[in-house]
Every structure is written in structure tokens, then in C-alpha cells.
Assembly symmetry: C2
Homo-oligomer: 194 residues x 2
């Protein structure tokens, strides 16, 4: 069966989104056919608005509508939580357990992928450390996230700023039986006194 070109093209566009395979992309394309023209216009306008209105905060690198983002405008930068991506800011904010400032690296160090410190938003982090009491490194607990954490700690500690790392261990609600052994051995090694 010959595919309809315009549907195949739209499915191709959808398949560039993260985690969208061929079948899902086609399903989305079909959903667009069922939309009204007004809905399609609004969808396109929303895409273009995001491109034209969202920029990176000049202080922390998070997404912002203005020169400086809402969080940088309102939070005391005595603590700075360093994350890899803007979505990680949302994850930390959702906990409600942190009310300090953020810094978004836009990636992690990865020699494999040729991502060096110059490719990350690190210089502006160093430039804003005056008066900062603690830098909390909240990169992912994987090889790249760990490497990035170690690199940042070596860079920042000599400047007299306390550097901490989010705790690693058994997830809340999980069962020991099913925990992978790396996580479990780390949970043992980093046990805390009750």
C-alpha cells in the first residue's frame, strides 16, 4: 500500500520527539487529521510561541520568559542546586523540600560523546558563587552524572564553598529483594546512624 505523502511526512516529524516510534507517530498524525483547522493553527502557534518566547535565564540557564527567570528573581542564592536539565528543576521543585536557587548545566560531562566542561553551563556557575554557602549537585546517579559531580566538586571546593551531593540508596517504597546490587551496596556503604 502506497503511503499518503503528507501523512508520512507528519509522522516523520512526530517521530523526532523523544520516545516516539513509528507506530505512535502515525497515531499522532491521524489525530491531527481529526483536528479542526482552528486546533491545528493553535497547535502551530503554540510551537512557534515556545521558540520565540522561551529563552535561557542569564543567571541560572533555566528556561525563562524574561532575561532572568522567576526562580532567580525570587530565591536566595545561598544554596544553589545544580541540575543537568530544566526538567530536573521541575522534579526538585515538586518535592517542596528545597527553596534555594538552581543552576542548569544543560548536559553532563561525557568524554564518550565529546562533551567537555566548555560545552556545559559551568562558567556562569563559577561566576555566581560569591556569597554562596552550599552547592548541591543533583545530577543523575549514573556514570556521566557522577563524573560531572566529581568534576564540579574539585572545581568549587577550593573556592571555600561547601559542595554536597544528593543521597543515593534504596528508593522509598521499593523492596530490597528487587533492588539492583549496585544500589543496595551503596545503600549499605552509606548507611546512616539512627
Amino acid at each position: 500500500m502506497r503511503e499518503i505523502k503528507s501523512i508520512a511526512a507528519l509522522a516523520g516529524a512526530f517521530s523526532t520527539l523523544p520516545g516516539v516510534g513509528k507506530k505512535t507517530a502515525l497515531r499522532y498524525a491521524y489525530a491531527v487529521i481529526d483536528m479542526s483547522e482552528q486546533e491545528v493553527d493553535a497547535f502551530c502557534a503554540a510551537m512557534k510561541d515556545v521558540k520565540s518566547q522561551v529563552r535561557l535565564c542569564s543567571v541560572c540557564g533555566n528556561f525563562a520568559e524574561d532575561e532572568v527567570c522567576e526562580l532567580c528573581k525570587t530565591r536566595q542564592p545561598k544554596q544553589i542546586c545544580v541540575v543537568s536539565y530544566p526538567k530536573d528543576v521541575i522534579a526538585v521543585e515538586k518535592t517542596g523540600a528545597y527553596d534555594g536557587a538552581y543552576h542548569v548545566l544543560h548536559g553532563t560531562l561525557s568524554p564518550m560523546n565529546n562533551r567537555t566542561p566548555d560545552d556545559l553551563n559551568i562558567k556562569s556557575l563559577i561566576g555566581r558563587l560569591g556569597g554562596v554557602e552550599e552547592v548541591i549537585i543533583a545530577t543523575n546517579p549514573d556514570v556521566e552524572g557522577e563524573a560531572t559531580a566529581v568534576y564540579l566538586a574539585r572545581l568549587i571546593k577550593p573556592m571555600g564553598v561547601k559542595v554536597t551531593r544528593i543521597a543515593q540508596g534504596i528508593s522509598m517504597g521499593s523492596e530490597l529483594e528487587y533492588a539492583d546490587s549496585v544500589t543496595l551496596s551503596q545503600a549499605l556503604g552509606r548507611r546512616t546512624v539512627l
Copy 2:
């Protein structure tokens, strides 16, 4: 944390796609921010192209670029396979086991949702039955699909056309142990002689 309006608006648009929840929609919106302006323009153009170029085949109701779709142009309508949605045509075509024509109803009968025969593409099906030897009803094996099949059979059989229904039973590669009992009892009831 106050959301950035344009990101929230785009995530809202994505969440209208089938099976897309809040979190996935936000992930897609973030992916759009990372696209180049050219990519966003191409994406929008693809959406608008689909709306302007895809229409319904005047014969079978499937998606088409012209007045009549590719399948209606090339297939002998001695057999007509009746499906609920255009995506079902793709599923049947993928089997490679069918080379007849199709007819797309664009829905199923559903008294619960006030979908009556008049809401479906049934009239044009009746109008094309001259010379047809068999109508294969390939609606889903659920309550609405079955009701639609029974309705169509009652309508078409008196016209002297053979009406068949795709077989129901145990799926290839599945295990009896895990089959739901409705499916298993149907598989028993419709057993075939070896």
C-alpha cells in the same frame, strides 16, 4: 514554581494527542524548545499539509490525496473488507493476506455515545455492493464492534451478498494460561476440525 505560559500552552496542545499525559506532553514541549526554528517551521508545515491535502476517498472513506484513494483505484471490489478506522486498513494491509477493497466506517455503533447508523459511513457501502461477492466485517471484537457487525450483516445479507466476520480466538503466540476466559470460551466454541 510558576510555569512558563508558552511551555504550558504547548504541553496542553500535545496532551490532546491520543495517549499523551501531562508528563509526556511537557517532555514533548521541551523537545520543541531544543528544535531549530527550521525544524519547527517544517513540523508546522507538515501539520498544515496534512489538513489541506488529506481528504476522504469518495468511494471507501479511507484517507486519500485524490478524489479516490490508491486502494480503490487498484483493487477489485469483489471482496470488501469493512473496518472502523483508517488505521485498521493499515493493519489488514500489513498482513499481506488480503488483496480486495476496503470500506471505512469512521466509527462503530454505540447507543451509549449516541452513535447511530446515520453517523457512520454506511450508506455509501450499501451503494457499492453491486457485483460484490463478499463483505468481510473486520470491526474490533468488542461490544461496539460486534454490534456493528451484527447490524451490517442484517442489512447486507438480504441483498444476496455473503457477509463474513474475522475469526475470534486465541492469539498466535499467546499462552492458554493467560488468556481471558471470554476469549478462551470463544476459542473452544468456534473450534475447527483438523
